[in-house]
Point group: C2
Chain length 95, copies 2
């Protein structure tokens, strides 16, 4: 968390060759719905070569390459929550 | 069109109080699918006060306030196409 008031930018870079737009859309939608007040924006960035990366203000949150396999929305929400709203509970998805 | 190679950023700012996320998502999805190779990214930006604005690299493309009523996806595609890929045909949606 920074001290400035600008809300963080989350970006999802996805591989268009792999047709991962729907996957990126789903994740983006879940995050925008959950962190509507905390996030400044959610961007989807078309990429290539099997990329699927989630970044907060440019810093990696989750990467298909380094973290192996795909994450699910609940895990991704926890990762984002831990960085932008650590005191917040995510309700049933954490139980 | 600029001479640099960086592909343009499109952003859609939508009013969360009006619950326009699904509308913003639909428009973003249409544009990302059509301009997958031309756009560098598509961002959704949560806003308030009835805002629904589409911007390309910060420049207004369409605004609910100034353009009145809502646009449809085909019109928005034409507006974006005119700026980032003027030679391109949009197929059946232009007929």
């Amino acid at each position: 968390m920074t001290l400035e008031h600008k809300r963080p930018r989350l970006e999802i870079e996805y591989c268009t060759q792999c047709r991962w737009l729907p996957r990126a859309t789903w994740m983006a939608q879940e995050l925008l719905t959950t962190f509507e007040k905390e996030l400044g924006e959610v961007a989807r960035v078309p990429g290539t070569g099997g990329v699927f990366e989630v970044r907060l203000d440019g810093e990696g949150v989750w990467s298909r390459k380094s973290d192996a396999a795909f994450t699910d929305a609940a895990e991704l929400k926890r990762l984002v929550r831990d960085r932008i709203a650590p005191d917040r509970t995510l309700g049933h998805s954490e139980r």
